[in-house]
């Protein structure tokens, strides 16, 4: 009987291919990742079936936090408009802001969440103090003293001749009266179009929108009226 010789194969596998794949994926994720900027305001936005991405150009952002406090900010690319806005506020309310205080507003990522009465003091704070300060929010719920109206008016004239993107970023748990206050401020300035920032969600199966999307091949986004 001849012995059947089983050839002994090496157990080591060539790792080169796997290494290639790993680093290919790695470079993909490194390139696509964008770290979330350290947000001073924590806001959990609600979900919606809207598919259109939020515009991030010429933004005037109204943020509403969990407790319904309102904050106002203008996109960092629009320094000129920021300058004009704070100038108008300064004039209208006679706050007597110094250039240094105005510069605090011009800084990137700045936002305001204090009533006009505290604005001068707030803009005089250094960044660390701003971080630790619990802001009171811009008063909106009182119909007679809706300070958002003036902010919107100032922003609106600052953006004159340009298309301003009005965004509302609200927290899920914010109560409705705050939102209504913001809407009222928009209405008073005849700003009737605005957008709410939401997180994407899938369209529920079997609904009319679902069927329409299927018919269209799910490429077109649904147009809200």
């Amino acid at each position: 009987m001849p012995k059947v010789k089983v050839p002994r194969k090496s157990t080591s596998v060539d790792m080169t291919a796997m290494c290639d794949v790993a680093f290919l994926l790695l470079s993909f994720f490194i390139l696509t990742t964008s770290f979330k900027p350290d947000e001073a305001l924590k806001v959990t936005t609600p979900k919606s079936v809207q598919t259109k991405a939020a515009e991030m150009k010429d933004v005037v952002l109204v943020t509403m936090d969990k407790e319904g406090k309102i904050y106002f900010s203008i996109g960092d690319d629009n320094r000129d408009e920021k300058q004009k806005t704070i100038d108008i506020i300064d004039q209208q309310k006679k706050l007597g802001l110094t250039q240094a205080e105005k510069n605090a507003f011009l800084k990137s990522g700045s936002f305001v969440g204090v009533p006009f009465g505290q604005l001068k003091q707030y803009l005089g704070l250094n960044p660390d103090q701003v971080k630790n300060l619990k802001q009171a929010g811009i008063p909106v719920t009182d119909t007679l003293n809706n300070e958002m109206t003036l902010w919107m008016q100032a922003a609106n004239s600052a953006f004159e001749g340009k298309k301003m993107t009005l965004l509302v970023k609200g927290d899920m748990d914010a109560k409705y009266p705050s939102f209504k206050g913001v809407i009222d401020a928009f209405k008073k300035n005849e700003l009737l179009k605005f957008q709410m920032i939401t997180d994407p969600e899938n369209v529920p199966m079997g609904t009319e929108l679902f069927k329409t999307n299927q018919r269209r091949g799910a490429t077109q986004e649904p147009e809200a009226q």
Binding site: V49, D171, K175, K187
Partner: protein, 182 residues
Amino acid sequence: MAELDTSGGGHKKGPGVKKAKKQSTRVDLTPMVDLGFLLITFFIFTTTMSEPTAMRLYLPKDTDKPEEQNKAKESGALTLLLGKNNQIFYYEGILSPDGANFKNTNFKEVRDVIITKKKSTKPEDFVVVIKPGPESRFVNTVDILDEMTISEIKRYALVDIAPSELQLLAASQGGGAPAPAN
């Protein structure tokens, strides 16, 4: 895993000549792969794939002139009141004085209510009136506006709540257990 060079020296070159050891050019890539996948996992977890989307809302112009106001046919109206704890109250047409047609639902079932009403009404008369109460949350408003998109309601309006409805809402919503959110 590491491979040892086992191909020992072949032919002898004679005395005094040291044989040069043949070094394998293969490198063990296992640790490198490990590192690669570790970093991949890290970036997968930190990356945010979903871009925020925007929901558009067009507000109606406030007007006092009656001729400029859009009159909705009362029979075709469905009014949704948003209460606290994700409750929805609704009535069709006009609210009857005794509140007999004032019904209660939640975000899971409201879609059926809307669809039923939509099917039973002429399309040109159908309008949904959304009245968020003071206790409702922002997510409720967004959800109900989203329902309009989902059910393809063409005419809807976000309206302030009337005092009489507010009373009814306050009396009905109570402090019950929270209804499941959508």
